[in-house]
């Protein structure tokens, strides 16, 4: 902004072109309309000071219950002023505009009426009608404004005494000018008649008629300024009783006024209105400069709107929206109203159930092998990490104590239990004593379930002698550090029977970490493996650690295997089958492996179809663009 003083209702700065009012469709008509005569204080109209003081008409205006917000003070919160709206996509802009711009702010009737008043139109509107009709708050407001204007500026007004001398001369000049115009009724110059016709064309049929219809529907008397008698004198210059005079019975029947002739020197100054918007702005500016106490004071700076409005620079051309406010409103309805929603609903009603079909295919691929207990796919060879795990277990002397960490929960039990059971069977075949511990609350339950299944086919497997459930280790990493640094806390109860741990034969001779020959980590998360490796493995680097993890976790755990921190590693259902193969048992979970394999195939198939579909639609879209 260049800081140049601009008229109150200028849309753009006259010097730099910067936009003075924000560009919301709902605000534009509100901004451009005069919003009634400018409230004029009774005191000296020193511009900024006058704005600071509440004008005397305010008490009349404030009780107005349906008073429209001036600009966007009511629609825009203080926060929205504090944080300007960021750049948005076109879709967001559409959505946002519907929130920011209240459709009610588009009121072409006022604009048309006030423009008509500005242009001196509608001399037929009877003032008596408005006086006789039941006054609405709005009409009261306008009447008060008119009265006040009149009282403040009429030479006959008793308040005339309050007008200071420095303002008296321009006031008298304007009155003289008005008197001279009054001598020739409705002396519109040709260039202004063009404006009038344009206004009538653009707004009269649509906007003005629409506004009148609204007023009639609600019984609101047409008390807009256009209803004042067309004397060519602004309302505030009329004598007090002039408003009570009956209007002419028919404006068309009035004698055709003589066309006014402008002096040559004035014609040379006449601006060439090239567009309707220019004409409107010009008319508005003229209105402002010839009304109120500031008559004759050109370029008066209205402080309140300038301060209250956040000014957005740029896109002055957008003011063309004024040309057809009704079309703008219709456009807003189209963009944000019923029709797009209907379209969206229509689109959502009948989507082809691709997602459901895909899910059904996957569900069948997973369930059918389990239902028929199929054994389509066989494991024939075992990978190196599984062999390393097997070798590590084999290297431990018999009747040793092995700690198994059941660090998984129910979500991955389907993938972890076959691995845990395969390792436990191998340990039991070597007559090892097993202790189960868990860093997760569900772990002890799951460990007990696994042991129950393993012990079913082993006659010598007894709880307490071959296996003991140490329960939940609180604190995860912190608990592991305590486990590594101190002796085992064997004075607490076990998970199953609630008996003191040190009484179980399975824990005979076990006092601390050094008495544990092997630690098996059945971990569902990389963190679980990392905790053991960092807290326990680093404490005693000679303590052998092996791990069984879900297939998805294997990439994250492999570095520990390659670095030697893990002596062996198996992963997923396939890992369990591999391990069974190592121990000479038939691979467990044949149906589950089939389900896994077919499910994988289904997923790959669906992804391939998705990729193909995406490729086709992208290509089709590209062809349409070209």
């Amino acid at each position: 902004m260049c800081g140049a003083p601009n008229d109150a209702y200028n849309i753009a700065c006259t010097r730099c072109g910067a936009r003075l009012v924000p560009l919301t469709p709902g605000d534009l008509p509100e901004d451009t309309k005069p919003a009634g005569p400018t409230p004029q204080p009774e005191g000296p109209p020193a511009e900024p000071a006058a704005q600071d003081q509440p004008p005397p008409v305010e008490p009349v205006v404030e009780p107005e219950p349906t008073a429209r917000p001036r600009f966007s003070e009511e629609t825009a919160s203080p926060l929205s002023r504090l944080f300007p709206r960021p750049e948005r996509t076109s879709e967001e802009t559409i959505e946002g505009e519907s929130e920011w711009a209240e459709p009610e702010t588009i009121e072409p009737v006022d604009l048309a009426a006030r423009l008509s008043h500005v242009l001196g139109e509608d001399a037929s509107a009877p003032a008596a009608e408005s006086a006789g009709a039941q006054p609405t708050p709005e009409s009261e407001m306008d009447a008060a404004l008119v009265d006040d204007d009149h009282a403040a500026s009429s030479p006959q007004s008793p308040d005339d005494e309050t007008v200071p001398d420095w303002l008296r001369s321009p006031l008298e000049e304007s009155v003289a000018l008005a008197d001279s115009e009054d001598a020739e009724p409705t002396p519109l110059p040709g260039w202004l008649q063009d404006s009038e016709e344009s206004v009538s064309t653009a707004l009269g049929a649509g906007a003005t008629g629409w506004g009148k219809a609204e007023d009639e529907e609600w019984g609101v008397p047409d008390d807009s300024p256009q209803s004042e008698p067309d004397t060519g004198i602004p309302s505030w210059l009329l004598p007090a009783d002039a408003k009570d005079q009956p209007p002419p019975p028919d404006a068309d029947a009035a004698p055709e006024p003589e066309m006014a002739t402008l002096p040559d020197w004035l014609k040379s100054l006449q601006p060439e209105a090239t567009s309707f918007a220019d004409k409107v702005e010009e008319a508005l500016q003229r209105a402002e400069s010839t009304s109120g106490l500031l008559t004759g004071v050109h370029g008066a700076l209205p402080v309140e709107p300038i301060i209250a409005m956040p000014h957005i620079v740029g896109r002055v051309q957008e003011s063309a929206v004024v040309e057809d406010a009704r079309a703008g409103k219709l456009l807003m309805r189209l963009l944000t109203g019923r029709q797009p929603a209907e379209r969206a609903v229509t689109a959502e009603r009948r989507p082809f159930p691709w997602r459901a079909i895909g899910h059904l295919v996957l569900l069948l691929a997973l369930i059918v092998p389990l239902l028929v207990d199929s054994t389509l796919f066989n494991i024939e060879q075992s990978p190196a990490p599984a062999q390393a795990l097997y070798s590590t277990v084999e290297a431990i002397p018999e009747d040793s104590f092995v700690l198994i960490a059941f660090d998984y929960e129910a979500d991955l039990a389907g993938e972890m239990e076959p691995q845990a059971e395969a390792i436990m069977r191998h340990l039991r075949s070597r007559n090892q004593r097993i202790g189960a511990i868990s860093l997760f609350p569900q772990g002890p339950f799951l460990a007990q379930q696994a042991w129950n299944r393993v012990s079913q086919d082993q006659a010598d497997a007894q709880y307490g002698q071959s296996f003991v459930n140490l329960g939940f280790l609180v604190g995860r990493e912190v608990g592991l550090r305590t486990l590594a640094q101190g002796p085992l806390q064997l004075d607490r109860p076990d998970f199953v029977r609630g008996q003191t741990l040190q009484n179980f034969p399975a824990l005979a001779g076990v006092k601390g970490l050094e008495d544990i020959q092997l630690i098996v980590l059945i971990g569902a998360r990389p963190d679980a493996i990392r905790w053991w490796v960092e807290q326990v493995g680093s404490h005693d680097s000679q303590k052998p650690l092996v791990a069984a993890v879900p297939a998805s976790v294997e990439p994250a755990v492999r570095p520990y295997y390659h670095s030697g921190q893990l002596r062996g590693l198996i992963s997923g259902l396939m890992g369990a089958a591999d391990y069974d193969l190592q121990t000479g048992r038939p691979p467990a979970g044949g149906a589950a492996i089939d389900a896994l394999t077919l499910g994988t195939a289904a997923v790959l198939l669906l992804i391939a179809v998705s990729a193909l579909f995406t490729l086709v639609t992208h290509r089709r879209g590209a062809d349409q663009r070209t």
């Binding site: 926060l79 960021p86 929960e409 990493e477 990439p555």
Partner: protein, 254 residues
């Protein structure tokens, strides 16, 4: 039990002790106005806009600090999530947008509630209402239960976006896919390789690995965070040089 401090721990201790004066020096320089160049990270750029978007839409913003718990090795990741919460909560308090935080560890509850409360503007500070306290919600102690609770939150609360920064595993897919179906703007980040592919599939932008720890430096330009970022990058460069040198030596001389 070993009686001698292992070599790698001694080296680590030396590294930490050496980094302390360097950290203090760089922090001082940054506080004095030294500029730190930051490359653009799309996830950070989007995160900077999320509160504004939530304000426009009149909705809340969801933040998750992962499925980790305080006191674990992943605490640093959780702290990175809390840093993001710190920044977002401050912006939320300035705009009136309500942050909604879901946590898997009840020990995080008072921390997150205090963060939300203390980042409020002075005018609203001290108003500890039930609603304010319920802005941080405990979902469940294990990862899947937490993810299911977060799914429910994303589906039933009026949310504009979801920021999920912290330790996440495959359970993130439950959260991320729900967020995508609800059309939420999503920024996700983790150091867990298991969770990263699912973030790539569902989130708008993903913060990978150490990018998590740059949240305070990128979004709030806190000097200490900028300084630690500089130190991290310097050490990383050093490590890369050592790796390249080691590979070259090993390749050349076996």
């Amino acid at each position: 039990m070993n009686t001698v401090l292992p070599l790698e721990r001694a080296l680590l201790l030396a590294g930490i002790l050496l980094s302390l004066p360097a950290f203090a020096f760089v922090t001082l320089r940054v506080r004095q106005g030294r500029q730190v160049l930051l490359r653009s990270i799309p996830g950070m750029d989007l995160m900077a806009q999320l509160v504004g978007r939530a304000l426009e839409e009149g909705k809340s913003t969801h933040l998750s600090v992962g499925v980790g718990k305080l006191g674990e090795a992943s605490t640093a990741e959780t702290m990175a999530g809390l840093t993001a919460l710190d920044v977002l909560a401050e912006r939320c308090s300035a705009t009136g947008v309500e942050p909604l935080v879901t946590v898997p560890d009840p020990a995080l509850l008072p921390l997150t509630q205090d963060l939300i409360q203390e980042r409020r503007t002075p005018s609203s500070a001290g108003r500890r209402t039930w609603a304010t306290m319920s802005q941080a919600r405990f979902m469940g102690p294990d990862a899947t239960a937490y993810a299911v609770g977060a799914m429910d939150t994303l589906q039933h609360e009026a949310l504009s976006n979801s920021v999920t920064i912290g330790p996440f595993g495959p359970e993130f897919l439950l959260i991320g896919e729900t967020g995508a179906r609800e059309d939420l703007a999503q920024v996700a980040g983790t150091t867990n390789p298991e969770g990263l592919p699912y973030m790539k599939l569902t989130a708008d932008h993903t913060l990978v690995g150490e990018e998590l720890f740059a949240t305070g430096a990128y979004l709030a330009k806190w000097p200490s965070h900028l300084a630690s970022l500089v130190i991290q990058d310097s050490v990383r460069l050093l490590i890369v040089l050592v790796i390249v040198l080691g590979v070259a030596l090993r390749t050349t001389w076996g």
